[in-house]
């Protein structure tokens, strides 16, 4: 399974499914990362984590650990 964690900086990916449950998953969805959304990986923080992505026209930072919940194609 390919997740957002595996995506490279500069890549644009499409969300296939969100895994897991609870607060973090809900927050990710509430911020607009839902099935079929395109996500652009902008950059990695200077210390390697978290990452910054563009989704639905705004910038969002996500921890790499949480990115594993997001399956992409």
């Amino acid at each position: 399974m390919k997740t957002l964690r595996n995506a490279k900086v500069g890549e644009t990916v499409t969300v296939v499914k969100l895994h897991g449950e609870g607060a973090v998953k809900r927050r990710i969805m509430d911020m607009g990362i839902t099935k079929g959304t395109t996500v652009f990986v902008r950059k990695t923080a200077p210390l390697g984590d978290p990452i910054e992505v563009t989704v639905r026209g705004f910038e969002l930072s996500l921890r790499k650990g949480d990115c594993e919940m997001i399956e992409i194609a």
């Binding site: 990695t44 705004f58 910038e59 969002l60």
Partner: protein, 723 residues
């Protein structure tokens, strides 16, 4: 008749600016019951009948975060007369996500399409009329920053409240989902307020545990509802919560198509994008971060902050108020004790509070700018990786940095941390960092006892940082700090120029709240300590004493000295000095001077390096005992001013006590381990206390390395806040 309008919207949508422009400077700031989430309300300017209730900035009405639970409880239970939903027009898609949820509550509602000036400037076009028709409620264009349209929006909301006109519920979801929701509505319609029917039905479909708990449906109804949800989930191959979120966003995409025209092609860079490219660039981010922090520190701690604070303390309070007052009172023939109470106790105590304000204002000014321009979110982005390991937020860096100057503004700087858990953890640990007032103690020990050894001062900072790291790791595994989820899924808002009004407002609010909330505790405790140190029993009579050796404090110190025997500094002088350290940490040195009968001001002697004069102090300590004393005084409860700041920021007596208790307990344990194990290895022999120290060490190690039962990702519904 008065109406209440609730102001709801995403973080960074311009809600604060809107609130300030609607209400002016007269606002009531408090906290939502039982939580540290700030609650603000005020009257619409020029209309006392319209109350504006500000809600926390939220992205959704989920049951997971404190802000969201507080907001939805208010909207559902307190029933404001209307909602004014502020929508950032430059970020329409995500902002409308909350709108679709607010509409379901069934209250009269108006949407303020904010930041329209920016949208127009970009050449984009939004048709508010079409958007309003699609949403089922009226849409007004506003620009809170420029002050246009705000009042009209509020007045329109008030009008809707009076007429009771509710939004027309748009059909948001696809057929299968609507079908299931209709079934749920049918089975609960006699149990809930008919206006909130849709909201409850959707929440039950999402299996919202808080709503399930409030409604207390019978077994049969629950099974019936569950059947419909399961059917829908199977058909759409997803869980109910995801289905609802997907459907909302799909619906928003559809309506945006009809009323929003973008001028630029996607992919072109805005000014904000260009700034961000540099500011959080892989190579430039850390140097820029360091430079920004240096400026903040240099101005608010080293230069301007200290200059104005010294001026306030030494000139304004001491020379302009205290001395003339004292001369005047003495001239009138006032009893010495009354002069002492007024000048040293009360004026001194108030002065201690006032003295912090200039520095605080300078610091708050910087913080407000950093927040307003959007850099604060980048601070968290850059520092997150380091700090989250210790249960802290990336934003904890600023309180700790400021804490090296003074713990009081350091603790106050924790306000910028959103997550309650991270904020509390930061408040508890910030004062472990040696502040400038603790440096004289370090200098005294290094100079008079360790013969000027170079490693004493660096070790003070090392101990402070280690205490933060150890405490962070230990505390985040305790039940107290588990349970509140703090997902780090954070928006990085677009950079924009700071608004002078917003910055000044924020500085004013924070300074005021420090003065009012922290001021009382500082004043009262200063008076108490003044009393204890200036009165005593001499020859059987209770009198005011000049010599601290005869004071009540000396008696108290003697009584408490036994506590410090296992730490290696059981003299009554050390106990008294430690207590006096609560007034201000540099007092420890001055008090030693008085108690050991040193001629001259001990603090000045330390500063000038005249350590020979301080030999009587050195004689009272063993090397190990001195180090243990140093560690204890670095880590134990901070001065009253900092405790006041902790109380202000915790906004909860229990948490304040926990913080101070933890700090003292941790300091005691560390000193005990250092002294006892140190004695053992230097040939001191094995005593009961050595065994206790080993047990303490084992406990510390266990707390550090045990498995975290509360896995961060495995968090369900917020506890402690009722739905």
């Amino acid at each position: 008749m008065g109406v209440t309008i609730a102001l709801a919207g995403n973080p960074n949508c311009g809600k604060t600016t809107m609130f300030n422009s609607l209400t002016g400077s007269i606002q009531r700031v408090g906290n939502w019951p039982g939580v540290t989430v700030e609650k603000k309300e005020g009257h619409l300017k020029g209309d006392k009948e319209i109350v504006i209730q500000d809600l926390p900035g939220i992205y959704s009405l989920s049951p997971y975060t404190l802000e969201e639970v507080v907001s939805r409880n208010y909207l559902i239970n307190e029933k404001p007369d209307a909602i004014l939903n502020i929508v950032d027009a430059t970020n329409l898609e995500r902002n409308l996500y909350l709108t679709t949820q607010l509409i379901e509550i069934g209250l009269p509602m108006v949407v303020a399409l904010n930041m329209m000036d920016v949208v127009n400037k970009n050449g984009d076009k939004i048709d508010p009329k079409k958007l309003g028709e699609a949403l089922g409620c009226q849409v007004v264009e506003t620009s809170a920053l420029k002050g246009t349209g705000c009042k009209e929006a509020a007045q329109l909301a008030a009008k809707k409240a009076q007429s009771g006109e509710k939004p027309v519920l748009p059909h948001v979801f696809r057929g299968t989902v609507e079908h299931a929701i209709a079934h749920i509505e049918e089975s609960i319609q006699d149990k809930v307020d008919p206006q909130r029917l849709r909201w409850y039905a959707v929440k039950l479909f999402e299996r919202d545990e808080k709503v399930q708990a409030t409604l207390q449906l019978d077994e049969e109804t629950r099974a019936h509802i569950e059947e419909h949800i399961a059917e829908c989930e199977q058909e759409l191959d997803d869980d109910a919560e995801s289905i609802i979120t997907n459907e909302r966003y799909a619906y928003i995409s559809r309506i945006i198509h009809t009323c929003y025209k973008k001028a630029k092609k996607p992919g072109s860079l805005s000014v904000s994008d260009k700034i961000d490219r540099v500011v959080t660039n892989k190579w430039a981010a850390l140097p820029i971060f360091a430079a920004v922090m240096f400026v903040v520190y240099y101005v608010s701690v080293t230069t301007i902050g200290t200059i104005v604070t010294d001026f306030t303390n030494d000139t304004f309070v001491a020379a302009w108020i205290q001395e003339p007052l004292q001369n005047w009172l003495t001239g009138l023939g006032t009893a010495p004790w009354l002069v002492g109470l007024l000048c040293d106790g009360i004026v001194g105590g108030v002065g201690a509070v006032i003295g912090f304000i200039p520095q605080m204002v300078v610091l708050f000014f910087f913080l407000a700018i950093l927040e307003d321009i959007g850099y604060m979110a980048r601070v968290a982005f850059i520092m997150d990786r380091i700090f989250r390991k210790f249960g802290l937020s990336g934003k904890s860096f600023i309180p700790m940095l400021i804490g090296t100057g003074c713990g009081v503004p350091g603790v106050m700087a924790s306000r910028t941390i959103e997550s309650e858990r991270d904020r509390r953890m930061t408040i508890i640990t910030t004062t472990f960092i040696p502040c400038s007032a603790k440096m004289p103690i370090v200098a005294l020990m290094a100079g008079a006892i360790f013969g000027g050894a170079w490693w004493v001062a660096p070790s003070a900072y090392f101990i402070g940082v280690a205490a933060i790291v150890i405490s962070g790791i230990m505390l985040k595994k305790t039940k107290r700090f588990a349970g509140d989820p703090a997902p780090f899924v954070m928006e990085l808002p677009a950079y924009h120029l700071p608004s002078g009004k917003n910055v000044l407002h924020s500085v004013w609010e924070r300074a005021k709240s420090f003065f009012r909330k922290a001021g009382t505790i500082i004043l009262l405790s200063s008076i108490l300590i003044w009393f204890l140190s200036s009165f005593g029993v001499v020859d059987g009579a209770f009198v005011m004493v000049e010599d601290m050796n005869l004071s009540i404090l000396a008696v108290v110190g003697t009584a408490l000295a036994f506590l410090f025997v296992p730490l290696g500094f059981g003299s009554w002088q050390a106990a008294v000095a430690t207590i006096m350290g609560l007034v201000a940490k540099e007092e420890v040195v001055g008090v030693f001077g008085v108690l050991f009968g040193i001629s001259g001001d001990a603090l000045e002697l330390v500063e000038s390096g005249a350590f020979n004069e301080l030999a009587p102090i050195a004689a009272a300590f063993t090397l190990l005992g001195a180090f243990s004393f140093l560690v204890f005084n670095l880590l134990c409860a901070p001065c009253f001013a900092a405790i006041g700041a902790i109380k202000r920021e915790m906004n909860n007596a229990k948490w304040t006590l926990f913080a101070v208790g933890y700090q003292c307990g941790f300091a005691y344990l560390c000193s005990l381990i250092i002294y006892q194990l140190g004695s053992l290895f230097t040939g001191g022999g094995f005593t009961v206390w050595t065994a206790v120290a080993f047990l303490g060490l084992a406990f510390l190690l266990y707390m550090l390395f045990r498995k975290n039962k509360y896995d961060e990702n495995h968090l369900t519904v917020l506890k402690g806040v009722q739905a």
